[in-house]
Structure formats: structure tokens, C-alpha cells
């Protein structure tokens, strides 16, 4: 199993560790709920060094990224970050990712840990026809996510990094005092304001240790999942898979079908014309049982019409809520449904899947 550069720190700090995406990762330190609340109310720091980075360079970089990616990077200014997907020919999702645009000839892609090998092979397999270089930089970069309403101040006070000039989904390249490259973006996966800092291991370890000394809450992947879920953000493997298209996931706004040919576009156009057969929706479930990934969603006659993709007892909202992939006929707001939890069924109703309104900085 792979380890991040902060692995010794996590174990020394007594984190509960568990495998995720091929890495031995911290799930929690003090507890998922306390860490979740720290991010919502103040600030927390996550080791997200498991994420993968791929650099695309060359005269045809813009054309190539636009061919493999659902977003349109051509009109973006340098310094902009955009979220989107890579699709297969059927419109299913190979991965969801962030694309950082340095200029028309250089893009920095951030991909999911669990998909690194698959993605790198996928990207390289399509690169041959373009004048581009694909550089797998996963081993070079480590990454911290500093998230919460106090993130900007923490970055400044503890790490001496000024993020105040960064708008939401923008980034800048920096250099550490000892000469290492760093990338700082105003991005995250929590529904709060925050930053992500990419740098080589020595910089990340030093930054983590400074943040710990300053009393910033260490946060594990446990609350990363509860936080993103409340904000209605998808997790690859749950709401997006090789079989689920961005339209089905309710992420159509990130698939620019008006853009010239990209992989999966034809399938999306057909799905749009025919209407999607199933859709990711939000559900509120009555009673105490918690809907979990894979549980069956039933119509009022007890017929299976879908499955839960993610579900929790929401820490911020104190309700049992879920995202579920259901037959589109049952996707309208307020549709009554049921969820099978072990031996019992519980009433549920379709609600908006952005359960918590994010507090992003404009």
C-alpha cells in the first residue's frame, strides 16, 4: 500500500488509518464530528497527498485537454481552475478532475487517487495524435487542503502565504523559501472557503507541522466525505462511475456539449435528446435508520427504483439524508419514495441534493 509523506505524522498523532485509493490514509484524529465542525466553523487541514497530478504541455495542449475533458479550457484565462470530467465513449465517467490552466500550452490536472493508473494510461493513449507531452507528476507533488472560514487567515498567519488575491477557483505558482515550487489554489471539497497547496514532500511536512503547532485541527478523510456530501459534491465511485454520465449525476453544467468533439460528447448529446433514464437526487429519510451506499430505493409499491450512492446522518443538519441514483420518473422534488435499511423500509422524499449551502468566497 502507498503512503503519503505525512504518514509518520498521522500515526504519531494517533489517527485512525484505513486504505483509500491505494493509500493508507487517516480517517480521523479526534473524531469525524469534531473535525467536520472545525471546518464548518473555523479551519481544518487535510493531507490529500494521495491525489494525483498530471502535467500536459505542448503547442496543442489546449486542443488536447479539450478533447479528453468535458469543460472548455480554450477561453479560460491563465490562472483559472475548472472542474469537469473525462468520459468514455458511452458518456460514462472515467474520472472527475480539476484542470489548472497556466497558459494555452500548459495544464495541470488533478485526479482521484483511486484512478491514477487508469487515468494516466487513458490520457497517454489519446495523446499520440497531439503535439503534447504527458508528465505523470504524482510522485513529485504532495498536497494539503486548508479549509474553513478561517482558511485565508490561517494560511497567512501560520504559513506566511497570501491567498487574499485569489478568487474562487483560481491559482498561482509560488516558490518556497528553500526554492521548491508550490501551487496554491482557492479550491476545496468541503462546501467552505479554502485553499489547496501542492508542493514537494519537505514543504508539505513542514507546513503540516507548523499548522499542528498553531493548533489547526487535523482532519481525516472521514469528515472530508461528510463535508463534501452535505455540499452535494460527488465522489468518484459513488455518484460518478464508468457507468454514470455527468448528466445522470446532475452535473450537466460541467459538460460543455456545445464544445467541438470531445470523448463522450456524442453519447451526452443522445442522452440529452432522449432524456436521461436515471438521475442522482437528494433524499431525506424519515426515522432513525441511516441510508448507506448500495441500499435499495423503492417506490411506494415496494418496487426497486434505484440505489443510495452516499448517505449519512448529516452532522450539520442533524437529519438522515442521502444521494441516490433513481429512475428519472421518480426524480422530481417531493416525490415520495422508500429506502430499504436491512429488514425494514423507511419513508423518504426527494429533496435538493445541495443539502448545505456552500460558503464560497466569490
Amino acid at each position: 500500500m502507498k503512503k503519503t509523506c505525512l504518514h509518520p505524522n498521522h500515526t504519531a498523532q494517533g489517527a485512525l488509518m484505513s486504505p483509500f485509493g491505494g493509500f493508507d490514509m487517516p480517517i480521523s484524529y479526534e473524531g469525524i464530528e469534531a473535525e467536520h465542525r472545525a471546518v464548518r466553523s473555523a479551519v481544518g487541514v487535510f493531507d490529500v497527498s494521495h491525489m494525483g497530478e498530471v502535467l500536459i504541455t505542448g503547442p496543442q495542449a489546449t486542443m488536447f485537454v479539450n478533447y479528453i475533458f468535458t469543460g472548455d479550457v480554450a477561453p479560460l484565462p491563465a490562472g483559472k481552475v475548472v472542474y469537469g470530467m473525462m468520459l468514455n465513449d458511452n458518456g460514462g465517467t472515467v474520472d472527475d478532475l480539476l484542470v489548472y490552466k497556466r497558459d494555452d500550452s500548459e495544464y495541470f490536472l488533478v485526479i482521484n487517487a483511486s484512478n491514477i493508473d487508469k487515468d494516466v494510461a487513458w490520457i497517454k493513449s489519446h495523446a499520440a495524435r497531439y503535439d503534447v507531452t504527458v508528465d505523470d507528476q504524482c510522485d513529485f507533488w504532495s498536497e494539503l487542503a486548508i479549509q474553513g472560514p478561517l482558511a485565508e487567515k490561517t494560511l497567512k498567519d501560520v504559513l506566511g502565504l497570501d491567498g487574499s488575491d485569489l478568487g474562487f477557483y483560481t491559482f498561482k505558482d509560488l516558490r518556497s523559501a528553500d526554492g521548491h515550487p508550490m501551487v496554491l489554489s482557492r479550491t476545496g471539497y468541503t462546501g467552505e472557503d479554502g485553499f489547496e497547496l501542492y508542493a514537494p514532500a519537505p514543504v508539505i511536512v513542514s507546513a503540516w507541522e507548523k499548522l499542528m503547532e498553531a493548533g489547526v485541527a487535523p482532519c481525516g478523510l472521514g469528515c472530508r466525505d461528510t463535508l463534501r456530501f452535505e455540499a452535494g459534491l460527488p465522489l468518484y465511485g459513488d455518484e460518478l462511475t464508468e457507468e454514470i454520465s455527468p448528466l445522470e449525476a446532475g452535473l450537466g453544467m460541467f459538460a460543455k456539449v456545445d464544445k467541438e468533439g470531445f470523448i463522450g460528447r456524442d453519447a451526452l448529446v443522445a442522452q440529452k435528446a432522449d432524456g436521461v433514464k436515471r438521475k442522482v437526487v437528494g433524499l431525506e429519510v424519515e426515522g432513525r435508520a441511516i441510508p448507506r451506499h448500495g441500499y435499495d430505493v423503492l417506490d411506494m409499491d415496494g418496487n426497486k427504483v434505484g440505489e443510495i450512492t452516499t448517505g449519512y446522518h448529516s452532522i450539520t443538519l442533524d437529519r438522515n439524508i442521502a444521494m441516490a441514483l433513481v429512475d428519472s420518473r421518480f426524480a422530481a422534488l417531493d416525490t415520495p419514495l422508500q429506502v430499504q435499511v436491512r429488514r425494514k423500509v423507511f419513508p423518504a422524499k426527494v429533496i435538493k441534493k445541495r443539502f448545505y449551502t456552500p460558503n464560497y468566497k466569490k
Binding site: L16, G31, I32, T226, R288, A289, R342
Partner: protein
Amino acid sequence: MTYYLPTHEYARVEGNIAYIGISRFAAEQLGNVVYVDMPEADDDVTAGEEFGAIESVKAASDLFSPVSGAVVEINEHLIDNPRLINEDPEANWIIKVEMNDPAELENLLSPEAYAEVCKAEKH
């Protein structure tokens, strides 16, 4: 006497009654308990089979019964306050079972043998 399953349930035996709950090790591993899915009084439980589930923020874990018998009582305090299990998992048993085959206890782990299981899981 208290007996354990390798899946971290205990049976504290008094006469032919077994109080069934989860071990302190399991409670610590789970973190805050948010829901306990319990059977109803008079339901039958079977040794080695699932009788309910315990849910932390992160996940649902099945509960397995160390013994066979009839549920004579469920711990109703856990309905409104599942976190009692975090405070004291041994005092806060989940179900009380009237055993129909006390010989089954011989298949369970002693406290010493169970401690070895926990030690192995920590590494």
C-alpha cells in the same frame, strides 16, 4: 462470566440470561455511535448470526449474536441516546437474551483470547 466473538460482541452471562453488547475496543474503533438497529422483544436470535446493526457517522456494522435464544429485553435507552455505548459499552448492553443452549458458550472467546484478537487488529 463474559465471553466474546471475534467480531467484537460480548455476552455477559448471568444464569441462563446473556447481556449482549459490543466491546470497549469496538466502541473506540467505531467512534460516535449514531444509531443502534435492534431486534424486538420476543424475536429469536441465533449464535453467529446477525441480529441488528450499529452505526457510526461513517458506516453501519452488523451485530452478531454470541448465543441463541429469545430476546427478553432491548436496551431502550439506546433509542434516544445511542452514545451511551461510547460512554460505557459494557454497562450499556444492547439486548438481553434468554439462552436456549448454554453449551454454545464453549465456542466463544475468553477475555484473554479476545484481547489477543484486538491486539492483532491494532497492527
